[in-house]
């Protein structure tokens, strides 16, 4: 067994690690308009990424959208996850599969679906107009709200499934015990269910936060060209400016910020609940 695991592990490591190391190296190179990239060892790309208010704002927007989407996803997912976890019989597996279903369709396709929903002649505007509630279509597409809305829709299944599996592992009797001891449903949720499902909330929101921080298609398609987030900005550097060193530096900045925030977030939440 070990004979098989070792080479397989090395292969995975190589597949994951080598491109990353290559990018890391590129991020210290310098850009040249003629030859695109010159071997160098400079922190200039990082300095520019960190100091430039333009990229600061993009990073801030990215973090804000990711936080808002994660929070909203958690709030929206909890109820359905609980319902799914506590469900019995054959409907449970059917609904679980149904929840997974959207994951079979790529994020780009689903983002396009949200475009069709939100555009000025899309489903929502057409319905509102049909009902006579509006005459001029509402500007729904190409707004930060549209990005958050679609991102939430896209990551929701991950959150529901993660939460449901953790809630399922909490015995129902523990909840009954809280009610029996006099806890109203709200109190029972805050004092018992919530802390016990915290590992699920943490796992789910970490996963979702990482997905949101790296969202590409959704901000591009639903935010419009004026709305800037990190992943499209990184792509822009590679595919439009041909500036690989700076693109690589932006990508690593995004990585570092994502890792830092998820670590910070989980430790703060975990500590707060330990104390309470």
């Amino acid at each position: 067994m070990a004979k098989l695991v070792l080479p397989a592990g090395l292969l995975v490591l190589a597949l994951l690690g080598v491109p990353m190391l290559l990018m890391l190296r590129y991020s210290f190179n310098s850009f040249d308009p003629l030859y695109l990239m010159k071997e160098a060892f400079t922190f200039g790309n990082y300095a520019r990424a960190v100091v430039d208010p333009y990229y600061q704002k993009i990073l801030l927007t990215t973090v804000a959208v990711a936080l808002a989407s994660t929070l909203l996803t958690t709030l929206l997912a909890y109820g359905p996850a609980y319902w799914l976890a506590r469900m019995e019989g054959r409907w449970k597996s059917k609904l679980t599969i149904l929840t997974m279903f959207p994951l079979l369709v790529g994020g780009v396709v689903r983002s396009a679906g949200y475009m069709a929903l939100l555009s000025s002649d899309g489903l929502i505007n057409a319905t509102l107009r049909g009902l006579g509630l509006i005459t001029v279509p509402l500007q729904l597409l190409y707004t930060p709200g549209a990005v958050v809305f679609a991102t939430v829709g896209i990551v929701l299944p991950y959150m529901i499934l993660t939460l449901a599996s953790v809630i399922e592992s909490i015995p129902r009797q523990v909840e009954d015990a809280a009610a029996n001891l006099g806890a109203r449903p709200g109190t029972a949720f805050i004092r018992v269910l919530m802390p016990l499902s915290l590992p699920g909330v943490l796992a789910g929101s970490t996963l979702v936060f990482i997905l949101c921080m790296n969202a590409y298609a959704t901000p591009l398609l639903l935010g419009g060209p004026q709305f800037q987030m990190m992943a499209p900005a990184v792509y822009d550097q590679f595919a439009r400016a041909s500036n690989w060193p700076f693109g690589a530096a932006l990508a690593f900045l995004l990585l570092v910020v994502t890792v830092a925030l998820t670590t910070l977030g989980s430790s703060v939440i975990a500590r707060r609940y330990k104390a309470g």
Binding site: L36, D121, Q228, D236, R240, A241
Partner: protein
Amino acid sequence: MTKLSRRQFLATTSAAGASALLASPALAQSKELVVGTWGGTFGDLLKANVDEALLVPQGYDVLQEISGPVPRRTKLITERMQRRGSMDAALLADFDMHAAARVGALETLDAGNVPNYDTILPFLKKKTSVPLIYSAHVIVYRKDLVKTPPTSVQALWDPAYKGKIGLSDFLYTSNMAYAAVANGGTVDNYANAEKGVEGWKALEAKLLPSTEAVGQALASGDIWLTIISAARGYSWQKSGIDLAWCVPEEGAFPAVYEAGVPKNARHPEAGLAYMNALLTPDAQVAFAEKMGYLPTVKSAKISPELEARIGFSEAEQNRLWTPDLDFIMENQAGLLDTWNRILKG
């Protein structure tokens, strides 16, 4: 199976390289020809009117390698050090092709290796590439909504069109050339281009993510005027949008699409045959009819009606700018940065 040398192996690590290997003389009879190009309508037209009409009968097996222009340009530049490149022919806009030419990635072309070379219109002749089609980025506008037909680039900053000016995010190079010219600069230095872009920001110009989005915005009346190729104006007109276009009195940005042969092509003679085929009148006319782009060779004749709709008058032709492609190449990253900062910041 022939044994691979280490260098050959390295040269085949790209997908196109791998398919080129299959076509090495020991394995295949037909002559392989790998063309780096755009896909979509453009690629289909190439396939029908160049590949199948002209090259397949000559025994070539044409393989389109489809990608965006920047990765293609990057490939030309980065592969030039290798013994064998992945493409036998590459298509790019003139300023991207220029960058590849500058680093010496392209074969020199002349009547000796491309028989049709001498039929190229003089102002489009280049040493290392042949022009496939051309048009110009002009002011395209809704005839029914823009009451006074524009004649000057200044129309794009007319406060009357506040919120109705559309800008293709892709065409930042052309858009900024207009911005420079409108503010006393030239296409050779792009001086004061920021001023023009800031003017657009102030007028709440709409930034559109793709050419298709520009078409939709014109169709819905979300925007009334924009800068886009006359060829696009023509094809949207055909689709029923009430459009007209003008070459401003200050001139317009030429849109030239070119093709070249990498010096390290696996099958250089195939690449050269492709160049020659692109300059064939029939192929040129097909592009004119389907996409509204103009032929680049004297020998191609399009019908007078079509000429009237897509052609440029001699005066218009003379007004087209001749941008300093060196300047653009060296400053493109900076131009994009300025563009992004002002309109997206």
